[in-house]
């Protein structure tokens, strides 16, 4: 006959023995502590979270979707976009994290100017809900805009059917950028160079750098005047005339090159401005869809 006291002692012993086993087990196999890694991620210890995700403990979890997703997010926040995309693309299509991971992977490639790869990923994404289809078309439209292919951009935009006000605003923004690209008149580096041949500094004026144009004109004209003065008073073969003449010629030629370069920089600035705006507007719906 087992008394109540014996039963109690037996229950307590079972609990404590199993607890000590559990403890020993947990000490010997630390494992991939996803709860703690999530905590590190949420509190902004991204390097630390990545360190644990890349450690031996998580190596058996390599195929685990949440590990790859978390790694992708951490790399994204640390602005290591290539690594972020690689991690996102390891998420399996069966996972619930798949759409978000692939959309972000494509977005990362778009940020790193790998537009073909970004488009390829987006085309491959299998989307079920209508919102994801909208997002897919919208993101591809953004990439088309980055490629400067306005016809394809408009085609993609026509496919979008959506009633959400927040996404409507982003679409309007993309359309405005498209209009801006349409109305942008490209400047020619050759014309800038030619203008500078005629009047030093005028090429920079054409490029919109007025202050720099005036300063270039004054310095080139100054060295020209010095050369002329030395030529007039010392003759052509005098070393001073030759030296100042060389400086003038150098300054003149450098100004022609500088003017052409200024126009190239101006065009690149415009492209960069368009890229920033498009990427920003591509990011807004991504955020509102997946971070709700």
């Amino acid at each position: 006959m087992v008394t109540e006291l014996t039963r109690k002692i037996l229950i307590a012993s079972i609990f404590f023995i199993s607890a000590s086993f559990l403890r020993t087990f947990s000490q010997n196999t630390p494992g991939c502590d996803m709860r703690f890694i999530n905590h590190l991620f949420r509190t902004g210890y991204l390097e630390e979270a990545l360190f644990l995700l890349d450690s031996k403990d998580c190596s058996s979890f390599q195929m685990n979707d949440s590990v790859n997703y978390l790694r992708g997010r951490s790399y994204l926040l640390l602005n290591r976009l290539e690594s972020s995309s690689e991690s996102f693309l390891k998420v399996a299509p069966t996972s619930s994290l798949y759409p978000e991971s692939y959309f972000y992977a494509a977005y990362n490639y778009a940020q790193t100017d790998n537009l073909i790869k970004a488009e390829g990923i987006l085309e491959k994404i299998e989307v079920e809900p209508q919102n994801h289809l909208w997002l897919k078309n919208y993101e591809i439209a953004g990439i088309k805009l980055l490629q400067g292919d306005l016809i394809s951009f408009n085609e993609r935009l026509d496919k979008i059917e959506n009633d959400l006000p927040e996404t409507d605003a982003s679409t309007i923004n993309l359309m405005n950028i498209s209009a801006e690209i349409n109305s942008h008149k490209s400047k020619s580096p050759v014309l800038a160079g030619l203008l500078s041949v005629i009047i030093p500094g005028s090429g920079k004026f054409y490029a919109g750098r007025k202050g720099e144009a005036i300063s270039t004109f004054l310095s080139t004209a100054g060295t020209g005047l010095v050369t002329w003065e030395n030529y007039r008073k010392n003759g052509l073969n005098d070393y001073r005339t030759i030296a100042f003449g060389a400086i003038f010629a150098l300054s003149y030629l450098a100004n022609i090159y500088g003017s052409a370069f200024s126009v190239t920089v101006l065009e690149n600035d415009f492209k960069e401005h368009v890229k920033t705006e498009v990427l920003f507007n591509m990011h807004i719906p991504l955020n509102s869809f997946f971070n709700k």
Partner: protein, 298 residues
Amino acid sequence: MLKLRYFSTCIFLLTLFSINRICASDYFSNAKKIYSEGKFFEASIEFERAIYYESDSNRIALCKYYKSLCYKELGEYDKALEELRKVNMESVPDSIFLVFSYEQVLCSYLKEDLNQALFNIDKVYLRFKDTLKILEFLPLNIICLNSCREWDNALILWNYYIDNSRLNDSVKRSFKQEVYRLYDKKNVPRFYFANKAENLSTFLPGSGQIYCGAVLEGLFNMSINGTLLYYAFSQLYNQFYCTGYFVGLKLFNKFYAGGIRRAKSLTEEKNQKGIKAFNVKNSNIMNRFYIVNTSPNR
């Protein structure tokens, strides 16, 4: 039967709680072991793990302290200060408050945030008025005051520091003499005024650099400016107006303006170097003082 169910529930909860407590302490010991191996980044993660699983506020504070030590070793003083800031200092015991405050002062000083370092020292003095507990803070306070060029206050603290040591009077007297010599007006680093250097270079190019002690650099600057000015006027005199203006005067203008800017930056450079050298001398005396003070044969 009902009693037995209650008993089982209690035992189950108690076991869960004890597992959690034991695990948290394991994490802390593991983190300390990694810290002692010099793997500070890894240790900082483990201390964070211990914080995450720990429920006792005093132990959490201790983990945060160690975590800040890891960051200090990694040279990330901002992060170290951030960890220390997370602890509610008003609720911790005096001993912990002192240790935490010391780290705060040290990290602020290493971050070159002297105002914050002095503010933290003042907080300690406010809490421990007229006690010997503040002695440990004096060397850092002296170094901070030196960096702020508050020689008189630093000297007062030096005296207090020596007076409250366990040394005999003759040794104390010899240290005091040494400190007084160090803080003599002739020995404290001279302060170079940026405005003065700029004004000097404005009136006579190169003289600002000479004022800062860079004699060769000053003479070089002076001779370049002189040569260019001579060239400009000789060209103008010989009716080479364009050459005189565009070559001579324009180049002179560039060197002249550059010389003024250089004189200003040189004062800042010299002032910082002077303070650093002075603090090294201070540290040497402090080290010797500490060794003598803690040796058994004092």
